[in-house]
Amino acid sequence: MRPEVYEYNFDWMLWRTLEAASKVGDGFDKEFKQMLPYIPYFSGIVEPFINLGDPGSAFFKMISEYLKNIVTAHEQGKKIVMTTFCFSPTIFYAMDIVPVTLEALTVLASVMWKRGATEYMDFCVELGFTETSCSSQRGCLGAYLAGMGEEIDMLVINTAGICDTNANAFSFAKTFLDKPFYSLNYPASLNDPEVNQYHRDDFKALIKFLEEQTGKKLDHDRLGKVLDEVAKQEAIVGEMEELQRLVPSPLPVTYNFLIYGGRFFFAGMPEYTVILEKMATVVRKNATQGRSGISSGREKLRAFMFYIDHYALNLNLWNWFDKREINHIGSILSRSFKDDSPYIKGMEDVAYNIDSTNLDTMIDSIAMINSRMPMVRSIRGPYDRPNMWLEESLALAKMYKADCLIYNGTPGCRNTWSNIKLIARDLEKAGYPTHIMYGDAFDDRVESWEATAARLDEFINVRGLL
């Protein structure tokens, strides 16, 4: 790693960047526009977010607060847990533990910094980690392995049985940092009674682990409050995602990023509920007016990303969609699958409920939430089994009236690259033009965004979609 990269801590730099970004929209419009030329690499994300109005600005402020909590956690006497994006942070907030979510922080660095998180990715390789491992962990992980973040107190994951490269990154970090580690592990099927019992037992063991690490018993009242807040949030998200079925969709294209990003960062925190309410107000208004959420107000095409999105500098993917008047109708990361979401009809088997009646029901609820998180829910078993990747992709594509489907991931995703050709063939057979992106969602060096965009344009043109 270049010596200058060691000058500032990764988490501290992210916090300061977001802190500044969160204030950009506080001034007059003229001040805001005058400022943009001074942040050339960053303006591509600041401008669209600030232009989103209250939700965008509030989202910046909340991420800034999230990062501040990491940087000041130990001063406040709190423990820090290194975790993964598909682990709901609900239990951590209920136990006053501060999460460092590797992939989420890699995304922040990727979309905001010219060099993204690549210096840190490469540092992992310097330490002996494989270059073929997933870049989503390697970005943030490299910084923490280099000692350029607050000291981690423990590691908790839920990707064993789901994604080897993900679980392996944390397993490597556990050894390298010599910290306590708990791994939830998932069977290949989702909804058998014995599997549900296993989910419950595994989560109870996790709570015991967290109690040992923090020296505090789980506060049942607090857990109940956090879960009730999650239920409120999912109800708002459910309403917005129901409205997304309208043609044109009233959701601005970046809203899905805000929704799932918010879920990974803040599930259960009241501040996130406020942001969601602000977003829902915009969506309801657009829906009433029959207006598309796309900047131009017109929707020409609807695309469903059936894996993850692309986080190149300045959120290029969303801008690409917006400029071409294509509506981004979600990805594997988008939906919560709560039982009362209107879109869950026909997919009841994958749903979870939230019941804060007593400790047992709360543990059941939180175990169910975690077992239904993105990836955990649908790539645990063979892709063509009930409730798995193919069934879910087809159901969502149909429900949201997708015109085409697009796969994007990272070369490190051994799991999906092992069957992407099979599922793409099945999706085509079902009548959906399907495109496989060969770049890396977090590392622009694998394929530049320009090349990725050219291939996307080629797909749209060759298949006659626009």
Partner: protein
């Protein structure tokens, strides 16, 4: 006598497979060392570890798998599509790693396009990644499910007594393998690493009765060694360096031959086809299914068991001390992140202890990279020599 083992280890089929098929008996392939072959043995079915050896092209493997995937499962798929595994009446796909578990879908889809390439019995065997009590329960259920499906499909009954007999037979085979392990660890190795590995691989593709019988005869014929195992810090009598090979899956004895021909003896290995440890015995006192559950899940020899690095490090260290290992070749197939990154940790920790390590990334399949690998291995052995000379003969 070694020819039997070398023949079995060098090809997809062998004389025993041919005889077995000709006598109308069934063979079931499996993909991972976490699958208890005793279950099939107890059902009168030959358990056969599926291998990718002798693959000559990759057009089928590359058609169904994506590009960023390890070549081992691709080779298995290639051979399956070519009909090379048509002697199997069944297959069990385990969740060894992500690429291997996706062999389930890739093989099924290949079977739709290449008719007859998929066996009638096709079972997905889910293996936990940890050994907590609730994970043990899950694994035990998986074993019971497998037994039920075998009984149903093959119309057989796997009785407790038969299972006990099979466990006993497999345990005896492990005891014999351990005798081989002791011979190769000797100051003057009584068996080469290539031969020892051939024997271990043969054990996964030969009927266990025949394997045990042949191995007993071989051990009786091999010259007896006088002293006990060699301690570290001493040179081999033949001047060769004493090497351990660890890392990704390998069933190709040519890799071992390549390493030994470069001027070394592979006196130990830690590869899932190889020989494990003296304690590698299924408990005969326990209920058989419970004993198989504990044995096959608790042996955290593979980095798929997340968070168990120390257990594996300790195992390697024991092998190093027992066999007087002077250097370690940590190999991994490209895109095998589990072994690849754990090799990084092993390199860090063993180099700190003064044991030279070579990390070697390779492709599975015919040793197309022989020249590059040979050069790197020779350079590694030279480095060990220089280090030993610089330290006055003490490595």
């Amino acid at each position: 006598m070694m020819e039997i083992f070398q023949e079995a280890a060098s090809g997809i089929t062998n004389r025993y497979i041919t005889d077995w098929v000709n006598s109308g008996k069934k063979i079931v392939g499996y993909t991972c060392s976490f699958m208890p072959p005793e279950i099939f043995h107890a059902a009168g079915i030959l358990p056969y570890r599926i291998r990718g050896i002798n693959t000559e092209s990759m057009e089928i493997g590359d058609t169904y798998y994506g590009p960023y995937v390890c070549t081992f499962p691709k080779c298995l798929l290639q051979l399956a599509g070519e009909g090379k595994f048509n002697f199997l009446s069944g297959a069990v796909i385990s969740t060894g790693c992500d690429a291997m578990r996706r062999l389930d879908e890739c093989w099924r889809k290949t079977g739709e396009d290449y008719h007859g390439s998929i066996p009638g019995f096709f079972h997905y065997f889910d293996v936990p990644h940890k050994t907590d009590p609730h994970a043990m329960k899950w694994f035990e259920n998986e074993i019971r499910k497998l037994i039920l499906n075998v009984e149903k499909y093959y119309n057989v009954k796997i009785k407790e007594d038969s299972l006990r007999e099979s466990i006993s037979l497999y345990n005896h085979g492990r005891t014999l393998l351990w005798e081989v392990e002791k011979l190769r660890a000797h100051e003057n190795p009584g068996v080469s690493g290539t031969d020892a590995f051939s024997i271990a691989v043969s054990g996964t593709v030969m009927p266990r009765e025949a394997f045990n019988e042949q191995l007993e005869q071989l051990l009786a014929d091999l010259p007896k060694q006088k002293s006990s195992s060699k301690k570290s810090g001493k040179q081999n009598k033949n001047g060769n360096k004493r090497i351990m090979v660890a890392g990704s899956i390998n069933d190709d004895i040519e890799l071992f031959r390549l390493i030994e021909n470069a001027g070394s003896n592979v006196v130990a290995d830690n590869i899932c086809f190889g020989i494990r440890s003296e304690a590698d015995q299924v408990n005969m006192e326990d209920d058989p299914i419970s004993a198989l559950t504990k044995h096959y899940l608790s042996n955290s020899v593979c980095p798929r068991m997340f968070g168990a690095y120390k257990q594996r490090f300790d195992l390697l260290q024991t092998k190093i001390e027992r066999a007087g290992v002077e250097g370690i070749i940590l190999q991994n197939i490209r895109f095998c992140d589990l072994h690849g990154s754990e090799n990084g940790l092993f390199e860090r920790d063993f180099e700190k202890l003064g044991i030279p390590c070579l990390r070697l990334e390779r492709e599975y399949g015919p040793l197309t990279e022989t020249g590059r690998m040979k050069m790197r291995i020779e350079a590694f052995l030279e480095r060990m020599e220089v280090k030993q000379t610089d330290s006055g003969g003490k490595s």
